[in-house]
Subunit: 126 residues, 2 copies
Amino acid sequence: MKAILLVAHGSRRKQSNDEVLSIAEKLRNNCLQQYDIVNAAFLELAEVLIPDGIKKCVNDGATSIIVLPYFLNSGRHVVEDIPNVVSDTAVHYPEIDIKIAPHLGASDLMVDLLATSADTAKSEIT
Amino acid sequence: MKAILLVAHGSRRKQSNDEVLSIAEKLRNNCLQQYDIVNAAFLELAEVLIPDGIKKCVNDGATSIIVLPYFLNSGRHVVEDIPNVVSDTAVHYPEIDIKIAPHLGASDLMVDLLATSADTAKSEIT
């Protein structure tokens, strides 16, 4: 069974964390054909943290997990912190194939998303 | 002339700021038909800051500006800080129509972008 673990930074502001959970739910509903499990976790400041998020995917029956960083830039969190936590956790699950996807700013679709967001505001300009 | 001002948080890490400038350049090339000007600015920690970014758009000939927040969540920066700086700056340009677009996490395209990023990693799983 294939799983996605959406990983955001985590915030002291509950609404920001709830937005991540809401995006994960939309992703779950959108990817039913390709992924059996979609969970969310946080690097810090919010529950669940990445190790527990990976554990939950495994408990849900995952045989492979794609860790999907909900980050715009390739900063320290993306380049060092998330890979370190994932690799420290992965040693407990040697039978599970765990990969980390690129950060969002690396996607070709980002420019389309930006253009669409701009058009949302443009429609208000007379 | 219509302008987009892409506004990111700004980082002490030059590479993160350069990634924003690179995204702005891609957006510029992608939106030549709809927008005459695409510039970038930062909320803090990096140059140019938002007031100078707006000034540059006006100097480039903009008659309307869409401020496009390069932020994932509707945190304090999106809800308070950017609107406050934009509105403080806008009083100097009463003839320019300035609108703020939604943050990126609010876009319907975000789920498609996430699914595509996951597929990038999935293709590496045997």
